[in-house]
């Protein structure tokens, strides 16, 4: 069952950047994604929220064309540009500090890495790379070896690499997972700015929705292979999540933070991966 809720659509002038329609994927005998449907419009910042193992990575692989679904289909943009329409930022990116590649070189590969041959120096290409460096605020370390940058700096280079081919959709796989609180806040602000300034759809996956609440336009909540999408207020409600999970779930809001508590009738317990806290504890927020 797909809980595609009717949302008060924003003035739907923004074109649809991504359309996922009835996607089902079975891997190793398990139904990882079950009739998942949602869409994302240009300029929207959408969070794909789900605990580890909920199917977020599989969904990304389907969108990237790396995993054929059992049924359903995915359309990016108007479907004409193929792979170039999706920019992808992977979660892990470990590089040898000695790797001979500057930040700006890696970004340039985003433009023409699929073309054969050796690139000739081109002022136009250099200008594009500089433009991207500016957009992600990475000019200060553009000429340093990528392997020697910090996690947050590398991520900005990777975002620029993904953006330079002017994709309609930017996918980021758990971008906040390895960042400290301040870096995570900066990353969220940067991505929100990119979504609105560049008019592209940003879809980021996370297992914790709270850092994204300030900027998230829409949420796609993934649980037990099924998805509910809409605005945060519409989706993150006890009734909706209860139906999604198949057992009773409570949603609490405390000072603007959301806490999802899963339980079965009298046997209340906190589902740890939903809050990011330790099992048996409830996150106390001020």
């Amino acid at each position: 069952m797909s809980a595609e809720l009717l949302a008060t659509e924003p003035a739907a002038t923004a074109p649809e950047a991504l359309s996922v329609d009835g996607v089902t994927v079975r891997l190793g005998g398990r139904t990882v994604l079950d009739d998942v449907s949602f869409s994302v419009r240009a300029g929207e910042f959408t969070g794909l929220i789900g605990s580890n193992g909920a199917g977020k990575t599989t969904l990304f692989r389907v969108i990237l064309g790396l995993q054929p679904p059992l049924s359903g289909h995915v359309r990016v943009g108007d479907g004409r540009r193929g792979g170039a329409d999706v920019g992808y930022v992977p979660q892990k990116f470990l590089l040898d500090p000695d790797m001979p590649l500057r930040g700006r070189d890696l970004i340039a590969l985003g433009l023409d890495g699929h073309r054969l041959g050796v690139p000739l120096p081109s002022r136009a290409r250099r200008a594009r790379v500089d433009e991207m460096l500016d957009a992600v605020d990475a000019c200060a370390f553009a000429d340093d070896r990528v392997g020697q940058l910090s996690g947050g700096e590398q991520q900005r280079i990777l975002i620029a690499h993904a953006l330079i081919s002017r994709p309609r959709l930017l996918l980021l796989d758990e971008p906040l997972a390895n960042l400290d609180l301040r870096a995570a806040q900066e990353a969220v602000r940067l991505l929100s700015r990119i979504a609105s300034e560049q008019r592209i759809a940003v879809l980021i996956s996370a297992h914790e929705m709270n850092p994204l609440l300030p900027v998230m336009d829409r949420i796609v909540y993934l649980a037990a292979g099924r998805a509910a999408s809409g605005s945060v207020d519409e989706v993150v409600r006890s009734e909706v999540l209860t139906e999604l999970y198949g057992h009773h779930v409570d949603v609490l809001r405390v000072h603007g933070r959301v806490i999802v508590v899963g339980g079965r009738g009298h046997d209340e317990h906190v589902v740890p991966e939903l809050t990011g806290g330790a099992p048996g504890s409830v996150e106390i927020v001020k």
């Binding site: 999706v86 992808y88 790797m99 001979p100 590649l101 590969l109 690499h161």
Partner: protein, 289 residues
Amino acid sequence: MHQVLRAIVEPGFFGNSSVQLAAAVGAVVAIVASSVGVFTVIRGQSFAGEALGDLGATGGSSAYLVGIAPLWGFLAIAVAGASVMELIGIQRARGRDLATGIVLGAGFGLAALLLYLGTIYDNTTGATVTILFGSPFTLSSSVLPLVAVFGGLALGIVLVLYRPLLLVSVSPDLASARRLPVRLIGALYLLAMALAVALSALTIGAILSTALLVGPAATALQLTRRPGRAIATAAAVGIGAMWLGILLAYDSDDWSSSHHAWPVSFFVVALVLLAYIASRSLSTRARGR
């Protein structure tokens, strides 16, 4: 001054046809091996390169027993070895070392037998030394066009695939997101590496062939942070070590009263090592971030 120059470059050096051939073949081999080697180091496939080179011992000795030029043996075994490695999944990180080691051990065992048989058959160890450690001064001139063709092929693969190969080597994830054929690119690269290593074995022997593949590349990576410059720098270091090695080997004939020249491969490898050490000290002083 004139005296010093004559001591270093002895009269007749440049006119000697064996020297000229060695320098020409050596230059082509050095450029190809060093350039291909930059990607070997980037991709962390030095062990595979080492294995392919050492397998040359098996190939060269087989060729010798059968009576054909060792170059064909080097080429055939390197390509066969690369194919086997690709089939058993060398591109996957896990199990890669073990698979390479097993193939290498088997190859060496066979080489030991073949070289022994060759020694018995010919009653001389000359062929063994040539196959294992190279002998550029005894190359036949028919080898030069072959080296140019296969070297050109190896270099061609790397230059044509340059951008996709760089992306795949840096991050297979990013490459597959861009729909690049990651496995095919890796396999083609393995072929280029096999050719480069086989050619290197021809000049400095099977055992030391990796030194020319990996040494100049490692040196270059210390000195520059741009991939294009790394390839140019590696090629320069490779040619420099090769030509200077040839010169020193030629001169060494006069160093001992018995007039036995030291092997070229020793000098080449020693120079490559010196270059690497020098580059490390330069880079730790100059390196900012």
